[in-house]
């Protein structure tokens, strides 16, 4: 009915646009697209410098910090060396040899005079501390394992990244639509 008519009109419009674009306009749109990607990368690198973290924004992947954080929540991190690690802080760390970062809370710290620190973590929603998660023979985490400290968060938004990870078809669909939008959009 009406919906089908609207769809037909929109698709005709789209085809017309593509036909009307000549080569120069196409190149322009591609350059535009390139600029947007470069700007995004620059902003990301800038964030890395300002926060001191190699991964200033992370997505929560598990429910081990519920009810504070759920799968899909976005965390904003800083990793400044001047900030000492203290109990109660929420740290994002990587276990040696593993790719996936873990978001848990610091339960125990032992710091030497010279600043060397070893600490233990635990997820709020876990019954036991993280010793079982660490590498074989590893009893403590150290500064080098830390990706950053969680300073702020926004709920839900990261669910898109999780979906894109778990369903590659969804990722390609999103990228395809994004590319299409940028190429066809007229300023």
């Amino acid at each position: 009915g009406a919906a089908a008519a609207v769809a037909a009109m929109l698709s005709l419009d789209f085809l017309d646009d593509v036909r009307r674009m000549n080569k120069r306009q196409l190149y322009y749109q591609v350059l535009n697209f390139g600029m947007i990607v470069s700007s995004a990368l620059m902003i990301w690198k800038g964030l890395m410098v300002v926060t001191g973290s190699e991964s200033p924004i992370v997505v929560v992947l598990s429910g081990s910090m519920e009810p504070a954080f759920h799968r899909g929540d976005l965390l904003f991190l800083t990793n400044r060396i001047e900030d000492p690690i203290r109990v109660g802080e929420i740290v994002v760390f990587r276990i040696e040899g593993r790719e996936i970062p873990i978001v848990h809370r610091v339960l125990k710290i032992h710091e030497k005079q010279n600043g060397d620190i070893k600490f233990l973590t635990k997820g709020d929603n876990n019954a036991v501390d993280d010793r079982g998660l660490y590498k074989q023979g590893q009893h403590w985490l150290e500064k080098k394992d830390v990706v950053g400290r969680a300073r702020g968060f926004v709920p839900y938004i990261g669910i898109v990244t999780i979906l894109m990870n778990d369903y590659p078809k969804f990722k390609y669909a999103v990228l395809f639509l994004l590319g299409l939008f940028v190429l066809v959009h007229r300023e």
């Binding site: 009810p67 109990v87 109660g88 809370r105 032992h110 710091e111 030497k112 300073r151 968060f153």
Partner: protein, 151 residues
């Protein structure tokens, strides 16, 4: 499987087992406040559970210094308090939730273990501040190990 730690720690933990803390709520102008009492010392904290506070992560930590380590901090107890939960807690004779192991033998005869209550404010969205309560209690450990104390 946990690692094997120095077992001189837990025997001294029994000294900390018997601490009383009360948490009462005060309704001020329609907002919730938190008033925390710690033994005879009163901590007056007024915390507002406003629309952007999803929960408080409360934790009691012990801080002390030893020969081995300049700074040690151990969380003894924690609690999640959701907005809407009864802000009135009446906890007495609480034993620590987590093992109070030292990294070494630094608890025996340690005169100055400072207990502090802190909390992490978890908003619905936004900054995650860590706040420390304004009072604290110092607890000394005895010079000898307890051998007969049992739970």
């Amino acid at each position: 499987r946990k690692n094997v730690e120095d077992f001189t720690g837990p025997r001294e933990r029994s000294d900390l087992g018997f601490v009383t803390f009360d948490i009462t709520a005060d309704i001020l102008n329609g907002k919730n406040g938190l008033q925390i009492f710690w033994n005879e010392n009163t901590w007056m904290l007024f915390f507002i559970f406003d629309w952007n506070v999803k929960q408080l992560f409360l934790y009691l930590s012990a801080e002390y210094s030893t020969k081995n380590n300049a700074l040690n901090q151990v969380v003894l107890w924690d609690k999640i308090m959701l907005r809407g939960d009864n802000p009135r807690l009446s906890l007495k004779d609480m034993k620590s939730k987590y093992f109070f192991f030292d990294d070494g033998n630094g608890l025996k005869g340690n005169r100055n273990i400072t207990l502090t209550l802190s909390w992490n404010v978890v908003p619905n969205a936004g900054i995650l501040p860590l706040v420390t309560g304004s009072g604290h209690v110092s607890v000394p450990f005895p010079d000898t190990y307890e051998t007969t104390k049992s739970y």
